[in-house]
Amino acid sequence: MTLKRRGKIARTLILMGSAGPSIVDGARGLWRSDAGRKWLVPLLVFLCVTGLLLVVAASVEALAPFIYAIF
């Protein structure tokens, strides 16, 4: 048996679809932490979104010039 190989775009769309809940989970975890780290939430979200954009740029080459232009 071989796993069904999906195209890059399909994989990236699925990955992006699950990224939102992952980021929310991470932010919620930080917000609830009792070590006074709530102030890290905006930084965490910013870095996660940046990382996601870079993953998309690496996966879907056609979008790369537009994404890299942001930086």
Partner: protein
């Protein structure tokens, strides 16, 4: 219920499948991809597991990842900020490393396997270790101690497990205070690769004196609760991507060894390296013993399950068995991250889904099965004639008794870093010259590294000084014990410089063919002990299929290759002189 466990993205990625609470199969990605310590998302291992069970991914009830990537990212981000400005150089590297695939595991699993996100679960790293250590153990109740470099935040955790009530984690030690990182820092200072060279430090330690133990203790501060903290002035691993130790560390222990410098134990420099290795080994043992003794007093339990990479330290494990107060210690065959694939699946099954415990077969053979016919075909294509054996143990024992080195492939491959008799290079254990021959001609590794003996469990005490519970600890080669003085000369190839050996006690029920081979060899030489080392060359993963065994056989000094009932012999044979009968 069908649960797939996955570990990936750090080192030794793996997959394991659990059906109705019982492991069906598990394999490290490296065995299939042929890249040593492969950390990539284990697609090949997942495919193989599903194929073994005849399942499509959609038929899985859950897929469990062995740690929580977002919590790990939280730790990396926190440490980078906490150690600023020291971390400013490593921060971009850390972000680049973390923000790619590693953070989006849920999406990767969903996209690669085509399953709904709701089926994807995450356990904490040390929960996976704890489940991998406790549930396959033979104990109904046991204390649990897991220790490694770092998971998300935890580096060491203690708890108690009950097959009826589940696992309760009691306490954890958090990064950067870490036993694994302490040992790894010295591994790096000694010029060995981190996460791979720790066992070299353990081997080297036997050649030294712990004369620098007080200096090592200066880097570790005891804590009021019985645990410890690292004095971070001596370390840099939490703030740097390139170096584990600080300038203060090198001021204390001297200049680090360059990886390419040979270790000559006859020189003052070589002796210093060995002394440092012996010192950090002693301090690690002291710390682990203190933790285990406290855990024993707290839980009043008789058995301990050890997990995490630190549990690969067989010298420390044997000390815990002798002195911690626990009468029995269990270490799984893969206590490191590879074992966490099954551990995560077990945690999900027993804790998340609250399913009752079902007994787990007590063996390490969860990987792909060898087919002797493949060797027959490959050798024929290469113009080498093979024999099909009627009595495999008898014939192979004859070859071993003639002093030949045998590549031995039988049944399913082992899960974990040890070859436990199904993917092994076997040889006569009597003469230290055999050790040197293997080191120089086949394994191409440092002279200070010992080889392990395998012995039928019922005869182990005749040759080795085993404490109570030693037979059990030795089943997966997890303990280092003294060779009885009267046998050291006759077991020269497997007796380390300090008179110890990492014994594998072979149980007839677990490994019947290997047990029969040991008995057949004993009938010929009087000593039912064989040298057993992993079937691979330096820098390569342990062989998996017949083709890899054959390739290794052709590129090394192995004399005889056996796969199933097929035997291939090197064209230019080794000496035919039978070894003298050693004992009666």
């Amino acid at each position: 219920m069908r649960i797939l466990g996955i570990s990936a993205h750090y080192h030794d990625s793996a997959a394991g499948l659990l059906i109705d609470g019982v492991p069906v199969c598990s394999v490290e990605e490296e065995r299939l991809s042929r890249r040593k310590n492969d950390a990539a998302f284990p697609l090949l291992a997942i495919e193989w597991c599903l194929e073994q069970a005849g399942l499509e991914p959609e038929a899985l009830d859950a897929v469990v990842f062995y740690e929580k990537p977002m919590l790990k990212f939280d730790r990396i981000l926190n440490m980078a900020l906490r150690t600023f400005p020291r971390s400013w150089r490593s921060f971009p590297q850390a972000m680049k490393n973390s923000l790619g695939e590693k953070l989006w595991v849920k999406g990767i699993i969903a996209s690669q396997l085509g399953i709904a996100g709701s089926k994807i679960l995450f356990t904490e790293h040390h929960q996976s270790h704890a489940a991998a250590a406790f549930y396959p153990s033979p104990f109904d109740e046991a204390a649990i101690l897991t220790a490694d470099g770092v998971g998300e935040w935890a580096t060491l955790s203690v708890g108690r497990g009950s097959k009826a009530r589940g696992i309760e984690m009691l306490r954890e030690l958090r990064f950067p205070h870490s036993l694994g990182m302490l040992y790894s820092t010295f591994t790096a200072w000694l010029g060995f690769p981190v996460n791979e060279g720790e066992y070299k430090v353990m081997g080297l330690a036997s050649y030294g004196e712990p004369s620098l133990a007080d200096e090592v203790r200066r880097t570790v501060l005891p804590a009021a609760d019985g645990s410890f903290r690292l004095d971070l002035d001596y370390f840099d691993f939490h703030a740097s991507a390139k170096r584990s130790y600080s300038d203060k560390f090198t001021a204390l222990f001297g200049a680090p060894r360059e990886p390419w410098d040979p270790i000559d134990l006859g020189t003052a420099e070589g002796k210093r390296y060995a002394d440092v290795a012996a010192s950090v080994q002693l301090v690690l043992e002291e710390l682990l013993l203190g933790l285990a003794q406290r855990l024993q007093r707290e839980t009043a339990l008789k058995a301990l399950c050890l997990g995490g990479g630190v549990a690969l330290n067989g010298v420390a494990n044997a000390l815990l068995l002798r002195e911690s107060g626990f009468g029995q210690i269990y270490v799984p065959s893969a206590p490191g991250d590879a074992g966490c694939a099954l551990g995560a699946a077990l945690w999900a099954d027993r804790i998340h889904f609250r399913r009752p415990h079902v007994p787990i077969p007590d063996h390490p053979y969860w990987g792909p099965v060898i087919d002797g016919k493949d060797l027959l075909r490959i050798a024929a294509e290469d113009g080498l004639e093979c024999e099909t054996l009627q009595d495999v143990p008898a014939r192979v024992a004859d070859e071993l008794a003639r002093g030949r080195i045998v590549g031995w492939m039988q049944g399913a491959s082992e899960l974990g870093p040890r070859a436990l008799g199904n993917r092994s290079i076997l040889a006569a254990p009597h003469d230290a010259a055999m050790r040197d021959k293997l080191n120089r001609g086949i394994k191409y590794r440092e002279e200070f590294r010992p080889f392990a003996p395998a012995v039928p469990v019922e005869q182990a005490r005749r040759f080795f000084d085993l404490p109570e519970g030693g037979e059990r600890l030795g089943r997966f080669m997890s303990g280092v014990f003294k060779v009885r003085p009267e046998w050291r000369d006759k077991l020269g190839a497997v007796t380390h410089v300090d008179g110890t050996a990492r014994v594998q006690t072979v149980d007839r029920a677990t490994a019947p063919l290997f047990h029969a081979l040991l008995e057949a060899y004993g009938a010929r030489t009087g000593i039912p002990v064989l040298l057993n080392t992993s079937f691979n060359l330096a820098g390569e993963p342990i062989v998996n299929k017949a083709v890899e065994g054959y390739s290794t056989f052709r590129r090394s000094g192995i004399d005889v290759l056996v796969a199933g009932t097929t035997l291939a012999t090197r064209r230019k044979g080794a000496s035919d002189a039978m070894l003298p009968r050693e004992a009666t």
